[in-house]
Amino acid sequence: MLLLVAVSIDSIVSNPRFEWDVVGDYLFDDRILDGLVLTLELTVAAMAAGIVLGVLLAVMRLSPNPLVAGASGFYIWLFRGTPVLVQLLFWNFIAALYPEISIGVPFGGPEFFSIQANSAITPFVAALLGLGLNEGAYMAEIVRAGILSVDEGQHQAAHSLGMSRLQTMRRIVLPQAMRVIIPPTGNETISMLKTTSLVSVIATAELLYAAQLIYAENYRTIPLLIVASIWYLALTTVLTIGQYYLERHFGRGSARELPLTPWQRFTRIVVPRHAEPATEPEASGR
């Protein structure tokens, strides 16, 4: 097993087709770094929008009011159902369809407010709209699954204490749903890092597109894709670690023992057993 890994690492490092020298040259290229920054900005902004929207849509979806639940269901259907590429193009070129965005009374009523679509919606705004609105639909399903995973008794206990539906959601249900919500949200965030590459259709050069632009010029496709992959892996590593600690945080009080953090595992080996840190027993559930 370890041999296998060693052999494959060897064959990757020594294979000339990977052109590791070129990888090194471009790893910190300005264009790549600019793309990286944009990727990060878009991911953070779109995920933030997606999560807020998702929580809202999920709560709506579970509402007893069929109109509210239906509206949310329709949104989820529509935005999950159409390709993000199309949504991005739509937001960017909404001007082709509606050259002016105006708010007013329809059917010839007065117009309150009107703006040129092209100037209101910059490519960055279009990218955010496209990615965020789309992500909201996916997050809604994830949050809904999380809410459903919390025991009905928790709702009832909260209600019997006089908490409103929203307070119950916010204070009681969602915090306990987090354990179930976090892993797929990690998936979504990591996906989003890469979905941002679709915004290249509206000419915003995030990480992958930056690499593509470079290899379009010099045809060093493989090393440049490796450069992009290295950066994506680095970002994923950071996110995975963040996810790990978030899961620990929201796992508090849950019915299973928390896994040790790598750091605790380390001290556990170095420091003798009976000298365990004082916080240890508190942290472990039944």
Partner: protein, 254 residues
């Protein structure tokens, strides 16, 4: 004449085709302690849940402290209350569940303080002090930072009682509050409840602690098959039941 705290008239409740409450009528005056006994599946829990408007009743009339539960009457018409109003009414009724239902992500103390802070808007520090005091009353001041999953069943139920008391409710509903407690602790909890009763708290207690019922209850009610078979003072009902079914049940239990 004072208004009754709870007045149920011909309350019906069904789940699908299963009729669980088939016309329950009961009046509880302020300061009274009513104990409800009856076999498993007779609808005791369901009735308590209706009083707290956790279930909607299908027919009949149910009011707490003069206010219809879940409805507002204007003239002859009934209007369904909005969620916020239902919540406000529930906040004045404490409930202790058969299955604890502690909030799993909060420590014992946080469980006790959450609702007073969130719902009543009491200052955090004040709620905390009151919470510690209540935990002491149920014998758990040293477990205040433990999560429910780290407590035994008995410990969990005591936290649940403290949590309900923290809202300073005007009516307390107990659904077999001692059924998961160790015998040696049952006494302590019953003492708390006795203290509550003496301080004038109105209580409906579903219980199998006949000793408690005999000593504390003003009225004992025997439910079976979704109806109240018989009601009376403890001495009447427990010592000289009129109905055969009651006699039968008591014969098994005592």
């Amino acid at each position: 004449m004072t208004e009754p705290m709870v007045r149920a008239e011909q309350v019906h409740k069904r789940f699908g085709r299963l009729a669980v409450l088939k016309g329950v009528s009961l009046t509880v005056m302020p300061g009274e302690v009513t104990c409800v006994i009856g076999p498993s599946g007779s609808g005791k829990s369901t009735f308590l849940r209706c009083v707290n408007h956790l279930e909607k009743i299908d027919a009949g009339r149910l009011s707490v402290d003069g206010q219809l539960v879940g409805y507002r009457q204007e003239g002859d018409k009934l209007y369904e209350l909005r969620e916020r109003e239902v919540a406000r009414n529930r906040a004045e009724i404490g409930m202790v569940f058969q299955h604890f239902n502690l909030f799993g992500h909060m420590t014992a103390l946080q469980n006790v303080c959450a609702a007073p802070v969130q719902v009543l808007g009491i200052a955090r520090q004040e709620a905390r002090e009151h919470g510690i005091e209540l935990l002491r009353r149920v014998g758990l001041e040293d477990k205040r930072d433990a999560y429910p999953s780290q407590l035994s069943g008995g410990q969990q139920q005591r936290v649940a009682i403290a949590r309900a008391l923290a809202m300073r409710p005007k009516l307390m509903l107990f659904d077999e509050p001692t059924s998961a407690l160790d015998p040696e602790l049952v006494g302590d909890v019953l003492a708390v409840m006795r203290g509550l009763a003496e301080s004038g708290m109105t209580m409906i207690v579903v219980t199998h602690e006949m000793g408690f019922a005999r000593e504390v209850a003003d009225t004992v009610v025997f439910m079976d098959g979704g109806v109240i078979v018989e009601a009376g003072t403890p001495s009447e009902l427990l010592a000289n039941p009129r109905e055969a079914r009651t006699r039968d049940f008591l014969g098994k239990v005592l």
